[in-house]
């Protein structure tokens, strides 16, 4: 038992993490007959919180199952971050990425989820904070609903179904990310 916990606490190789993420597909299909997807929770939360009248109205109660999964994610990640990692854990990030990021002014360490000079309450109302935290979130929400899915619904579930539309969306995700990373990031951080 002790050694199983130690194994869970140690860093996972990519194929373990990937296989367990992929397990969401059979878990949901067999136990609930639902297709894996997370981004629809964003529309459900907005419909539950903001009363939308007329033709835009839709039934968020049909998305309760999905919002329950989102709550579970918050609980599960709390458990993992607090109890299922070794002390002083840091990700084994590529030295090239660290060097490239330092060139454009990102110096904080790989022990954190994200660079704190951009992502922190102190930086929230700075130019960087508004672009990365606020605008970035807005584009994620707008884009996934416009594309009809996110990394879960299109990249994993959609590609598992060999759905052409999902492949097109995933190529879009990737091209969008490449444009921001390589063309815009240096100007946005400095």
């Amino acid at each position: 038992m002790e050694s199983i916990l130690e194994l869970i606490k140690s860093p996972w190789p990519w194929y373990i993490g990937g296989a367990l993420i992929g397990l969401m597909v059979p878990l949901l299909l067999f136990f609930a007959n639902k297709q894996f997807g997370i981004s629809s929770t964003l529309s459900n939360i907005c419909a539950a919180c903001i009363p939308i009248k007329g033709k835009y109205q839709f039934d968020w109660k049909k998305g309760k199952w999905n919002m329950t999964i989102a709550l579970g994610i918050v609980a599960g990640s709390y458990i993992a971050a607090n109890f299922l990692r070794t002390d002083g854990f840091h990700i084994d990030i590529s030295e090239d990425t660290i060097a490239d990021l330092q060139l454009i002014g990102v110096h904080s360490s790989k022990e954190l989820f994200a660079p704190t000079e951009i992502f922190s309450w102190e930086s929230l109302f700075s130019f960087k904070g508004i672009i990365f935290i606020v605008l970035g979130g807005f584009l994620v929400g707008f884009g996934t609903r416009y594309a009809g899915g996110c990394t879960s619904g299109h990249a994993i579930m959609g590609l598992s179904l060999f759905n052409l539309g999902s492949l097109v969306a995933v190529i879009g995700f990737f091209v969008g990310g490449l444009i921001v990373t390589h063309l815009l990031l240096p100007y946005l951080i400095n």
Binding site: G76, L161, H182
Partner: protein
Amino acid sequence: MKYLKYFLIGIFFGIVLVKSEVIYWFRIQEMFRFDSFHMYGVMATAIAVGASTVLLIRKFNLKSIDGSKINLTPKPFNKKGNILGGLIFGFGWALTGACPGPLYALIGSGFTVITISLISAVLGAFFYEMIKSRLPH
């Protein structure tokens, strides 16, 4: 009780999102800079497990545990919507370093400023619902 299974599946997914390191902004940067195989390996393995499941369900006509026929209808393909929405999502993904699942997982991990990104994402989804009839799909 009906929702307990979803909560448990969510807990499992939350743990896996943290442990597979896909919620790290630096991992997303590494991916978009082609500096590491990690994210590609994670995605490829996840799709391999998902696609094998779908193939087995189709081949053996497997049913879900309540005996119902498993719904494998893919999402509709809106050419312009998938391309334009996909690009916009990609812009946001590179900035926040998080897609919707990781937004929840970062908050649970104690990275509380991401709550603002999540609220912003909900507003983005709201904005889409308001203007979707005027967008090309």
